[in-house]
Amino acid sequence: MKHLEILLISMKNLLRHPSRTTIVVFCLVVILTPFITALAMLEGVRGDALVSVEEGADLYVTMDMYGRNGIIPQEVADEIESIDGVRKAVPRVISRIYVEGKLAVLLGLPREEIQTAGKIMEGALPSEGEVVVGRGLAQALQLKVGSNLSLGVRVIAIVQHSPQIMKRVFRVSGIFHPDTSIWSSDLILISLQDAIDIYEMEGFVSDIAVFVEPGRVTEVAEKIQQMNAYFRIQSKSLTRQYVKRAYSRKGGVFTLLYIFALVLAIPVMALVSGVGLRERKREVGILKATGWSTEEVLQMVLYENCIIALLASSISVLTSYIWLKVLNGAFLIQVFIAEITHIAPFRIPSRFGFDTMFLALTVCLGVTLVGSLYTTWRTAVTPPQEVLR
């Protein structure tokens, strides 16, 4: 009964000081919203990346070239496909490519694999001499279905320190749907043979994606390795680890920077929540003089902070949700995804998990408690008459 009464009094205290309560909640929301938005976005991007990994091949095979991944003969795909336990082996050409100064990803797939590559918003899948481009790239280069896109093939000469590049022109046959995974945003999808022609690597591909029957990955990997000691095999679990590590690092750096910002914000919060501190000190003195214990006074302040934290974190999560779902994470997404300037041309993935909500609440509570609990405790342990004097 006593605790409930104190809780009710805490709620009334907040209502008795509406402007102070509003300012504190507003400050917390301003501090917290970018943090929650970034975390939700990071979780979404990481989740999407992991889904892509899960949907991808079980093994990726390349050749060792000076300790790095190198091109591999295309015919190896047929040999791998003949191994017991392999469902299919897909030769691919995958490469970074600059198109009119913009970085893109070029992916060359056999015709039968292109059908499953992504959802096309408009146009059709590419035939020979055609490409399908991602929404981001289409917007950046103002490409439409039917537009021409010239891709640099190779350096043919150096004139006055400037490389002269031989180019080949392709017709844009389609554009990926914006809801397709973010990885398709800057993608150029092309037939395998066209990709091989671009890089003039006849008979070679950049890797072979191997799809294996469930539970036979290790066994198949060992058999591939036995085929040639110079094969480099990358498993799904290794790719998954790379993805997790990459985004944990990005998230970690962001969190670290944000914690630093929060530490700087604490004095501001203390100042804001200390508005009316003299009145609060006097109130604590009166309560103590009329029989309230230090613990009961602290309990009241704790409840006030909990209510404020709950309110501020809920509003922050809601604001973050709007920021991501309506504003598509504008002005924040470039921190996490390279080559995007302010506004993403595709739907930003996001996830609001329980841990995000919990973190929001904890940060709010931490900031408000640091700003108020210590000062209240100092007042509460002082003899009341000293406080009231």
Binding site: K2, E5, H17, E283, I286, A289, W292, S293, P383, Q385
Partner: protein
């Protein structure tokens, strides 16, 4: 043995590194249970300080205070709080009501730590406000009340938990003569219910019906008739 006993109580306040004020010097006195006592003396003689020490809201620098069989100096902060919430009611000279709270809320707050529910708190607050003649002002905040009304709200707050000891600091100084007489009549009625009432006043003209008067001068007890 007296119900409340002070033994050589001293209280000093440090104003700066070199300046210390001796507010009370070796004050020893005894107060019987159920009596009404007046502490008098000129301004700055230490009346409020002594009352604060008796009310356990101030700790003495030296000396011992006994309430019943408990030596207050030896009690922990939480034990003193328990003693205060069960035994003592204080009416401050400046009333010390919480602004923005209504009269009945101010009166009922001492019941919160005792675990009394909202409805019961309200009922008892209205009861004591009626006792001090303020039932019609129960929803008014302190700034909407006159000095005399604030005084009576403060008295209501001090008695709501039915304390054995009631301390009033200058109860007649901030109110007009008519209200002062009304308050004193109320106190006399309370005394008959067995409470120990301790009042402080620089001018004890109005307060005549007391069992004992202690006079303080420059922090020293000069008369305890």
């Amino acid at each position: 043995m007296s119900y409340i006993r002070c033994e050589k109580i001293c209280k000093s306040f440090r104003l700066s590194r070199h300046e210390v004020i001796e507010a009370l010097r070796d004050v020893s006195l005894g107060i019987e249970r159920g009596s009404m006592v007046l502490i008098t003396g000129p301004s700055g003689s230490g009346k409020t300080t002594l009352l604060s020490i008796l009310g356990t809201i101030e700790r003495p620098s030296k000396g011992r205070l006994f309430i019943g069989d408990r030596e207050v100096n030896r009690l922990s902060d939480s034990a003193i709080t328990r003693l205060r919430r069960s035994t003592i009611g204080i009416v401050f000279q400046e009333f010390n009501l919480i602004p923005r709270l209504s009269a009945w809320e101010n009166v009922s707050y001492p019941l919160v730590p005792l675990g009394v529910g909202h409805r019961e708190r309200r009922r008892r607050a209205l009861e004591v406000l009626e006792l001090v003649g303020l039932s019609n002002r129960c929803h008014h905040t302190p700034e909407q009340l006159s000095g005399g009304e604030k005084q009576r709200v403060a008295i209501a707050r001090a008695i709501i938990h039915e304390p054995e000891i009631l301390l009033l600091d200058e109860p007649t100084s901030n109110i007009d003569r008519e209200t002062a007489l009304l308050v004193l009549k109320l106190l006399t009625e309370m005394k008959t219910s067995g409470r120990t009432i301790i009042l402080s006043s620089h001018d004890g003209d109005l307060i005549t019906e007391v069992d004992r008067t202690f006079r303080l001068e420059e922090g020293k007890l000069v008369d305890g008739s």
